[in-house]
């Protein structure tokens, strides 16, 4: 009960414009100042410090750093050439190419917002120039980030795995099939919309094999990256955090010696940008350490688990209910916050109901990341619309068909757990 009041207080602080990290931190810290609490106040700072002292969590700064390095390493234009070849011949060619690019970028970057921002700068003008409405261009560019965030590596899945004590390797492998399904669903939607509106292809003919082979060869270093990452994690050569460290070296070697597009200046710039992102995400993670402690001290997960297990007869009903909850929370809150607050509560609940936490992790991350692309609060939406200068209303209207496509994939994941689970079960036993 006290926990619920504290959470409501935290949400209230967020709603009136307090930075979310502080809102969570203050709500949690208040617990120790309440008259009925017999815990010493010093536990608060202690939990903040210990929230950072985890080896799996080190994967977060490393993969943020890798995303920025890869962007500076000359991988993006090469992958763009390949995507345009592969998908440019379809109706709405540029939009299709952008979705394929999101998928390929997914293998080197784990951030939906980073992908949406990069693509808006690279492709946004071109799309509007092709006669796409700015709202449609914005919607495609922003929703593509969802594919990037689902295909491994994924910063969201690292966080979920760290909080819920779920194997990050399994989560990564489980992300492949849903990521590809999202790409297919979004491409079909784009095709349907483009046909009706007469958005044209950007290429006249199907790509020739030789062209594809040459474009593939030039982007081979980016394409190989997720492959050796997964193989390495699967065979225990390295843990995800260690993989992050090797991947930094990989990005440096590719950028500096193979593509020769990166020097000391670019590396420092990538580090500067990474430090800012890390500072932002980590402040949320550190300050949620307090409320996380309160939540487990007050036995909230156990209470909720007992309540829900009585109410929901089937796993599917439970997952559907949670999915609706996550969509709404994702729309209102920033994704990191939802994961930090809810993963520790919900993972024990769904485990008690007999649901595989890997299955739930993919569902949860897809939905809360999607929430960042929708109004009223969505970082991807703000970013893309800011760069393209398109009004939120047009963007929101054009987002509807894509949202339906995403929900179709999510329902598939809920009703057929094996879509997510067969690959990790097959590869990791």
């Amino acid at each position: 009960m006290i926990t619920a009041l504290l959470l409501v207080f935290g949400l209230l602080l967020m709603a009136v414009g307090m930075p979310v990290a502080f809102a969570i931190g203050i709500a949690g810290f208040l617990y120790f100042l309440l008259p009925g609490t017999f815990l010493p106040v010093g536990i608060g700072p202690q939990r903040i410090v210990s929230a950072t002292q985890s080896f799996p969590l080190l994967a977060v700064p490393l993969f943020i750093f890798i995303g920025h390095l890869m962007n500076a390493s000359g991988i993006t234009p090469r992958l763009l050439r390949l995507s345009t070849l592969l998908a440019g011949w379809m109706s709405g060619g540029l939009a299709q190419a952008s979705l394929v690019l999101s998928t390929l970028m997914g293998g080197v970057s784990g951030s939906a917002v980073a992908d949406a921002a990069m693509q808006s700068r690279v492709l946004g003008k071109g799309m509007v120039g092709e006669g796409y409405s700015p709202g449609f261009a914005g919607a495609v560019l922003s929703i593509g980030g969802l594919i990037t965030a689902t295909i491994p590596p994924s910063i969201g899945l690292i966080l979920y795995g760290y909080l819920g004590e779920v194997s990050i390797g399994r989560l990564f492998i489980a992300g492949i099939v849903p990521g590809v399904l999202l790409m297919v669903a979004l491409m079909i939607t784009t095709w349907l919309v483009s046909r009706r509106r007469g958005y044209t292809p950007v290429r006249d003919s199907l790509p020739k094999f030789a062209e594809v082979a040459s474009a593939t060869r030039s982007s081979i270093w980016a394409l190989l990256f997720p492959l050796w990452l997964l193989v390495g994690i699967r065979y225990g050569l390295f843990t995800p955090s260690e993989a992050g460290a090797f991947a930094v070296v990989y990005a440096l070697v590719v950028g500096c010696f193979i593509h020769r597009e990166m020097g000391v200046r670019e590396i420092i710039e990538a580090m500067r940008a990474s430090v800012r992102d890390i500072g932002m995400i980590m402040l949320i993670i550190m300050f949620s350490g307090i409320i996380g402690y309160v939540v487990s001290f007050e036995r909230v997960p156990q209470t909720i688990a007992e309540l829900t297990l009585g109410v929901f007869s089937s796993q599917t009903a439970l997952l559907l209910t949670l999915a609706v909850l996550l969509v709404f929370l994702g729309m209102l809150l920033e994704a990191t916050v939802v994961v930090m607050l809810l993963a520790p509560i919900l993972v024990p609940v769904i485990k008690a109901a007999g649901i595989d936490p890997v299955h739930f992790g993919l569902l949860m991350m897809t939905l809360v990341t999607f929430g960042g692309m929708t109004p009223p609060v969505g970082i991807s939406m703000y970013t893309v619309c800011g760069i393209l200068r398109c009004p939120f209303t047009d963007y929101s209207r054009e987002l509807v068909p894509f949202a339906i496509a995403v929900f179709a994939v999510v329902l598939g994941i809920i009703f057929f757990p094996n879509i997510v689970l067969f690959l990790p079960n097959m590869l990791m036993g």
Binding site: L13, M14, G17, M18, P19, V20, F22, G25, I26, V41, G42, G44, P45, I48, V49, T52, Q53, S54, F55, L58, P61, L62, F65, S111, A112, V113, A114, A117, A149, I155, G156, L159, F238, S241, E242, A245, F246, V248, V249, I268, M271, R272, V275, R276, D277, G279, M280, M282, L283, I284, M286, E334, A335, T336, T369, G372, I379, T383, G386, I387
Partner: protein
């Protein structure tokens, strides 16, 4: 004077991120070739918490910490002023308390070794009070420079990225 202070903080944060990456790389390489060394993970986590608090302060100084302004933009100037002042007061009080309670925590951890030559867990814990003090200063500087209402607004019009 502040320009040098900010510059130093930027450089420190970048160096610390480099140290974090290098430490993890060194420790995983040694483990991969069969000669793991003790304390590599702890050392990396020590660099990491300092990277994180400096990064957090840099973001706060630039007004980049994520916040929800969907409701705020519809408020009248007077209401906004009162609410933002209250928010700032709470944030400052929170930071002051973190510094106040964090410092004795760091001192009491001084005897606890980190598993790496000569390093104490106190250096890890110290990051919190130092970070809280830095953010306290940054927040006050922003209020002085931009006024109460705009103290939390970002410097650039492009929102920084998260997940």
């Amino acid at each position: 004077m502040w320009r040098w202070f900010d510059k130093l903080e930027d450089i420190l944060a970048i160096v610390l991120l480099g140290c974090t990456s290098l430490t993890i790389l060194a420790s995983s390489t040694m483990r991969a070739i069969g000669h793991p060394f003790a304390g590599g993970a702890e050392l990396a986590q020590f660099f990491f918490i300092w990277t994180a608090v400096f990064g957090a302060d840099i973001m706060l100084r630039r007004g980049g910490q994520v916040r929800i302004d969907a409701l705020v933009v519809h408020m009248s100037a007077g209401v906004l002023r009162v609410i933002t002042a209250a928010i700032l007061a709470m944030m400052l009080a929170f930071l002051a308390m973190l510094a106040w309670y964090g410092l004795p925590l760091a001192l009491s951890n001084w005897q606890r070794p980190l598993g790496f030559a000569g390093l104490s867990y106190g250096y890890v814990t110290l990051a919190l009070p130092v970070g809280a003090a830095l953010m306290f200063i940054s927040l006050i500087r922003r209020v002085l420079a931009k006024g109460i209402v705009h103290s939390l607004d970002p410097d650039d019009d492009v929102v920084e990225e998260t997940l």
